[in-house]
């Protein structure tokens, strides 16, 4: 069990070359989590990771702190850190705040920069192309870039960062469901329609379409989550 990813993480030592050690360790762990190597609910032992990565306990604990604040890890007093396992209420809450942030960003469409508008189209193009290849994980990534691009329309660093963190949390849910096609395919066409409305400058219709997307996606994800977890 431990040996499986123990060997893999040992290979990551080569990547420990730039930036503060704790941040570099956090980068590695973040990647492993989003890849699904450490699934939600998994406990990350200080001792095992310390040995596998060849770093000190204090440094590892700093990395844990960083990821805890990103919402990827959860600290339980005297029990250790666990990969965050989201509840159904968490999913509802994630969609509640995404509704507010992304729709609010959309409303800023008239004053958004041409470059920011272009990125919305680029993301949906990538999703279309990945769907044509049948590469559903890539479709999922492109869909996330699409929503990040929508958030960027707000022209606010904090909005962009908040949505980035929310999408990272949402990825934890996707990892539990673990059927990329079912999760991402249904929304490619809807996103394309939304992007077209944006390109036409019809922010009002785009916002309504985005609201419908959130309603559908939330209901479908909750159903899939209940079935899986």
């Amino acid at each position: 069990m431990i040996e499986e990813w123990g060997a893999r993480l040992a290979g990551d030592r080569a990547l420990l070359d730039r930036g503060s050690t704790a941040e570099r360790v956090a980068d590695i762990l973040r990647q492993r989590i989003t890849e699904g190597v450490f699934l939600p609910g998994t406990r990350l032992s200080e001792e095992n990771l310390r040995e596998a990565l060849g770093i000190s306990r204090n440094t590892l604990r700093e990395a844990f702190r960083l990821l805890s604040h990103e919402g990827l890890l959860e600290h339980q007093l005297n029990r250790g850190v666990f990969v965050r396992l989201l509840s159904e209420d968490d999913i509802r809450d994630l969609y509640a705040i995404r509704r507010i942030l992304e729709c609010g960003a959309l409303r800023n469409l008239p004053s958004a920069s041409p470059a920011d508008r272009a990125r919305v189209g680029a993301a949906i193009d990538a999703a279309d192309e990945a769907a044509a290849r049948g590469d559903w994980p890539a479709v999922g990534t492109a869909n996330m870039r699409f929503h990040q691009a929508i958030a960027d329309l707000a022209g606010s660093r904090r909005v962009a960062e908040a949505v980035r963190a929310l999408l990272a949390e949402l990825r934890l849910v996707f990892l539990v469901v673990a059927d990329p096609r079912q999760l991402h395919e249904p929304y490619v066409a809807a996103n394309r329609a939304l992007a077209d409305l944006l390109a036409a400058g019809d922010a009002r219709a785009a916002e309504e379409a985005l609201q419908r997307y959130f309603d559908d996606a939330e209901a479908q994800l909750l159903a899939a989550y209940a079935a899986a977890g």
Copy 2:
């Protein structure tokens, strides 16, 4: 310079009695920062604080991490931690995301709980009363509670938490301007009018009033900030 608050912090040792040590230390430092004991731009030395509080470096660094993520402290690699000093762009960004979050929360008024609605009125009552006493710092606190209550209308833990963090950041700006009356008095009447619209259930008019509030407050704060810093 160091001795001034060194003696004061030594008295805080008595408060180190409950919860995780790092969190308790973070609580103390957060209070000192919001009180204006440590003004924005101040560097917090590990060694001095460690000695004043009688704790270890590792524990202190964990507390620093907590406050850094809240946006109150800023970590500069190999230089230490500083009380965050916000730029004018930060102020504009804070208002951009507050516009989106608080207006989005307002739009949820119809499905908000009666208890959440009541808290909006309670906050503005407190502001009125403090203004009558001429207690402008208390007016500022009540105004923040008012906006927090608006955010709570969204019924989302993450929205509430995000706005809480944003208001804490904004307090850092107020500390630099340091004229509580000028900062808070102008908005008591406007907030009262807004609360009345909410009580009447007119979410649409309330949202317009809130937008105007943000426009005024942002412009006034930027002017005061440029004059002070």
